[in-house]
Symmetry: D3
Subunit: 126 residues, 6 copies
């Protein structure tokens, strides 16, 4: 189980390190895109929780495990319940079909790792 909790930390560290690397390339377009990406999920007319669910479902139908991991962590931070999580996953499953199932399995795995981490009193960083 400790090993699995490490999966979240490994994801976070690689993502952080390589984002720095990519941004170090001084490509202004990429740098600005990263800023827009962050802002797109900030609360406005739609709240942050709804926007994270949108990001989660979009990532699931497009089948990107790293994007799913990121949005599952953010959904947990925004207080998404298990029932809400699986209702969103059901929309993704219906829209995207059985090809999304392996990603839904991994999303549920990440969700459980996040819950376990919080249960143990660890912080859940991204």
């Amino acid at each position: 189980m400790e090993l699995e909790l490490d999966e979240l930390e490994e994801f976070r560290l690689y993502r952080e390190r390589m984002n720095k690397r990519v941004l170090s390339a001084k490509n202004l377009g990429i740098k600005r895109f990263f800023a827009l990406d962050t802002r797109a999920y900030e609360a406005s007319a739609l709240d942050a929780k709804t926007k994270e669910l949108l990001g989660l479902v979009a990532s699931t139908v497009l089948r990107c495990d790293d994007c799913i991991t990121y949005h599952v962590i953010r959904c947990v931070q925004e207080g998404v319940s298990d029932t809400e999580f699986f209702e969103a996953m059901n929309v993704a499953l219906i829209v995207g079909g059985s090809i999304t199932i392996p990603h839904i399995r991994r999303a549920a795995d990440i969700l459980d790792q996040c819950r376990e981490k919080k249960r143990k009193g660890h912080t859940l960083d991204i």
Copy 2:
């Protein structure tokens, strides 16, 4: 403008006619999938408006104009505001990239046709 309003009606009639045709084939799997599809968007832990926004963003990143048209109409029926609509579209644009822009243009077009139809006192059926 009358011509454009017809676009919604044309969409509705073709969709209705061909859904009947497909269901007339007596394939039990397809019939049950259609039932699951409808139920996935019913209010539960997540409300119907949020679920329609999830369907709209999923359809936009997967770039299916007919699915987008359907969910724009349903979003309008569920009371999504223009600001909320474009915030959802912004998430789709960030996740899915410029390849979604032609679909966002058509989604905005459909949104305007829905608003116009309601302004004129017409019902907005799906």
Copy 3:
């Protein structure tokens, strides 16, 4: 109905004309790819009907209407029954999700146009 039958003919003529145009460009890679494309569906260990069903399902989950139209016509030529057609579509629907439904509607429409054309004693060319 006559109008709808024209849809098949319009498809065939545009496809034929533009294939000629593309091949006129004397790009050897494109020319050879077109030859491989034709041969991939020829009967061998798997018969032509099975291969056309593979092409139909692949085109449906990738959601390309022109490719679907082509393979529906070829499936009819190879003697695929309506029941077999909808069982293949059900696999595509399950794998690919509701995003394939607009394409399944159009595939059923094309199927009906092919059946109508044959019922009238017209040839079904591609």
Copy 4:
């Protein structure tokens, strides 16, 4: 080689464990989708072997390694020969392009692991 045979078992165990986890969430839509997914491949007008080949090609053009692994195992169980397997892969390659090649490499790897497992007299479960 023992290590590679473990890959099939690891896949099976994770899939089984996480399917249970996902279904434990008591989301009726997801539960019913899983049932439809199973039924879509049962013999009817099209036999089970043809349906598994449809699932395999659909998974390959959509480029999902877990789905490919599942359908390769099922194809072997249904008696698909190597020649039939590679003819189906050729259709996938032509429809989906070189982007499917890494998945075809892994599909061939899984196929060989399945053959090896059967050669050794082990059962091939899913």
Copy 5:
């Protein structure tokens, strides 16, 4: 032929009108994305012609006709020759497979319309 030339103008006018509509929504994220989109194709270490070819091939493998039309027009403006155009299309065809062929047919059609427009001394706007 005049009719076909109108296709380019119709595309340009709808694109221009709906871009204005989308930008009128005052969504800052969308507005900034549109700016980044324009800048991504400006000459820098890679020249504008190479960048347009990158945009054309990306649009072709992702199979977006509107995006293809846009980049074909821009490629013609940047002086891409027919031979270069079809070599780029060949890369797209190999990477993306036969599913791109209907889009390559339409891309060749748009290319011919652009050449015809220039031959007649008309300006080729976007």
Copy 6:
């Protein structure tokens, strides 16, 4: 770091071994496709460097890590600079959206491994 350099070698060896396995199947269509794939990137009207950038961007928007790894190595062999690399990645990011970011992170990682390998005087094979 030595470990990461091994990643390139592991990729190369698995690719080489499984390509041989796939080609050993004596499927003429697959064999000919592999030949067309190689030829598509040979210098002609467009030079090899431009064609590799086209392959890299196509692989990135289609989000295939193995294809990206291959084209990053080939781009380095053809003398693509870091600035050119990130300008091409920026086009992929704009066209394909944030869903490409995990792949851009890994592409940058592979690029750094290639540079390190060359810096150490090792050959960079594919």
